[in-house]
């Protein structure tokens, strides 16, 4: 086992352990903070896969955006409903059965599938990604921007003040 393998194991452990805490912690805020480590671990795995741009994007979007959104959501709602939001377990037995079957199937298939592996590509990926976005994947790129715009307008519409009431326009 060389040094890179050790680093891989460390990152993988971070991801798995923190993901367990996310799922099993009773306090939703603890889950949210634990998610931080999951995201970072995944970013680390991306780095090991030579996906430098993807790794940084992962940190920027998940830690800088989504995690903070989740934290905001939790912090702004807990006191409104005056009960502390806790995650609990319901219907443990059926859930366990389904989880066991599903994960067994997936694990089995992962194990027996012959994966197409490509040789590791050294060097920076940013430029190639940018070029692809402007050529082969131009259409999805533009459509994605429309999708984001729709989500933005939709969120603003849902959150707007009711017109004709206090604070409305």
């Amino acid at each position: 086992m060389d040094f890179v393998d050790i680093i891989f194991v460390v990152f993988a452990l971070i991801v798995v352990v923190s993901a367990f805490i996310v799922v099993f912690s009773r306090s939703i805020i603890r889950s949210a903070f634990s998610l931080l480590f999951t995201f970072f671990g995944v970013a680390g795995l991306y780095v090991l896969l030579n996906a430098d741009f993807l790794a940084v994007t992962q940190v920027l979007i998940y830690v800088g955006g989504i995690l903070i959104l989740i934290l905001f959501g939790v912090m702004l709602t807990t006191n409104v409903v005056s009960v502390e939001i806790k995650t609990g377990t319901l219907q443990t037995v059926p859930a366990a059965v389904i989880v066991a079957v599903l994960s067994g199937t997936i694990a089995g298939i992962f194990w027996f599938t012959e994966w197409h592996t490509a040789p590791a590509r050294e060097g920076p990926t940013t430029k190639a990604l940018g070029t692809l976005f402007m050529t082969d994947y131009l259409l999805p790129f533009e459509i994605a921007s429309i999708l984001l715009l729709v989500a933005l307008i939709g969120a603003a519409m849902i959150a707007r003040h009711e017109r004709g009431t206090e604070g409305g326009r």
Binding site: F110, W115, H116, L138, I143, A144, A151, G154, I158
Partner: protein, 475 residues
């Protein structure tokens, strides 16, 4: 690769709709009381897009390096979805005013939803399927909750969003697994790989997840749970476009992925689709009997109709495929028409949605009575209306594909469905209305929409070959 004129021509129709949506959005921001203006702008844009789709129809091919279909199939679905969008606009304007929520954002979101549906139905790559689906779904989540003062509307939006996000997760995971095993997201490329070597079992897991995602979007059993609450709670014109344009787009992509790209996916997928179809037909038809609320009844009926259409897909022969396309056209006109009549009769605060509210309507208001009867007869599948031929084609296809049992289930289900469709007609003509019931004034735009839909239902019913000749050469 650089963008050429033919690329742009290929996405002309959906491009016009998207640009119209952007302009409409800006108009809504910068002009005061611009709802009417935005509506006319959107109608003009959709009419232009319809013309563009019609113009590019003969030249079938792909654009943007095989990312998206152009002409032919894409134009056909483009025109269908644009019809749904135009009818929704015509019906929505008076409905929104009646409910006191006539804001330009409604039209902007419908335009975005329409462009998402068009993209999805033209997809030649799984990435475009996903993006189109998401544009459509996000717009519809918002539209479902457009009437924020109504608890049911909020409930509809929230349920649709939570379950829809879950279904999207299914779909995306399926796409990821397919990409992992096939090495491409291009549908033509997947078809090539699929034909050359049997795919690994992981591929089937991915395909199954994809199937689940699509089944959710078309509202087929066992992924139908959201349909009744969402159709009931959403503003009525939104239920209309959700059940027609949304369903058409989802079926278009369904067909592209499962029939065209995976070559029917072999017997496995066919059997699975047949089971979904049978369950949907039976569940929808049986539960619809018990409904008192008309929108809810139509929601269950739409589950049943998803089952009929799935029958055509399960048959996976040429008749079945063009039958599904025909069915989608017929269903679009008749269902939007029905929701249109409901939206006219409905009063603020969700009043007048029960069967009993239709008592005596046919005599009191002959126009509404007649068009509503046409739509309901068509939904029930009574010749010579469009609904009959739709069912006829898909059942005949099932028989051709040696799935006679499925055709029998379908015919039984439609016999059951006659009961609840005709019950409305019975209420309209054979029950006495309450004393001094007010006569609803039918607005001009609304009656234009109803007339157009009724003409569509009768027209393609009498001349079914008009649609079949349009779609015949796709397969």
């Amino acid at each position: 690769m650089s963008v050429t004129g033919s690329d742009l021509l290929g996405i002309l129709a959906v491009g016009i709709v998207s640009v119209t949506a952007l302009i409409a959005m800006l108009a809504g921001v910068f002009l005061k009381n611009s709802a009417r203006l935005v509506m006319w702008l959107g109608l003009a844009g959709m009419a232009g897009a319809f013309a563009a789709a019609w113009g590019t129809y003969p030249s079938a091919g792909t654009a943007f390096g095989g990312m998206i279909l152009a002409g032919g199939y894409a134009s056909f679905f483009g025109m269908l979805i644009l019809c749904a969008g135009i009818l929704t606009f015509l019906l929505a304007s008076d409905y929104l005013r009646k409910e006191g929520v006539e804001y330009p954002e409604f039209y902007v979101m419908v335009l975005f939803a329409v462009s998402g549906m068009m993209l999805m139905s033209a997809a030649a790559d799984l990435i475009i399927v996903f993006l189109g689906l998401e544009i459509m779904s996000v717009s519809l989540y918002v539209l479902a909750g457009f009437m924020r003062r109504r608890e049911k509307s909020i409930e509809a939006s929230l349920k649709y969003f939570l379950l829809g996000a879950f279904a999207t997760g299914f779909l995306l995971y399926g796409i990821a697994l397919i990409y992992g095993t096939m090495g491409t997201t291009d549908l033509a490329g997947i078809a090539l790989r699929f034909a050359s070597a049997p795919p690994p079992s992981l591929f089937w897991v991915g395909a199954g997840l994809l199937l689940g995602g699509f089944a959710f979007k078309v509202g087929a059993v066992p992924f139908h749970m959201w349909v009744p609450d969402v159709y009931e709670g959403s503003p009525t014109p939104v239920s209309g476009i959700m059940s027609t344009g949304g369903k058409a787009a989802a079926f278009a992509a369904f067909l592209l992925v499962f029939v065209k790209s995976l070559g029917g996916g072999g017997a496995k997928v066919q059997t699975l689709l047949a089971i979904f179809a049978a369950l949907s037909m039976v569940t929808g038809a049986v539960i619809a009997i018990a409904q008192k609320n008309l929108k809810r009844m139509l929601a269950y009926s739409s589950i049943a109709h998803a089952g009929y259409m799935l029958t055509g897909l399960a048959a996976a022969n040429q008749l079945g495929e063009s039958g599904v396309l025909y069915y989608l056209v017929a269903y679009t006109f008749m269902n939007i028409g029905t929701f249109g009549v409901i939206s006219l009769i409905e009063q603020a605060e969700e009043k007048r949605l029960e069967f009993s509210d239709y008592a005596g309507l046919g005599l009191r208001q002959p126009f509404l009575g007649i068009v509503m009867s046409i739509f309901l007869f068509s939904l029930a599948g009574i010749p010579p209306l469009a609904g009959f031929f739709g069912k006829y084609y898909v059942f005949a296809a099932a028989v051709d594909a040696h799935m006679t049992w499925l055709a029998i289930v379908g015919v039984l289900a439609s016999v059951v469905s006659v009961y609840y469709y005709l019950r409305v007609v019975v209420f309209m003509y054979f029950h006495e209305g309450p004393e001094g019931a007010e006569v609803i004034s039918v607005p001009l735009l609304g009656s234009v929409a109803l007339l157009l839909s009724a003409a569509g239902v009768v027209g393609i019913g009498v001349f079914p070959s008009s649609i079949l000749s349009l779609t015949g050469w796709f397969f």
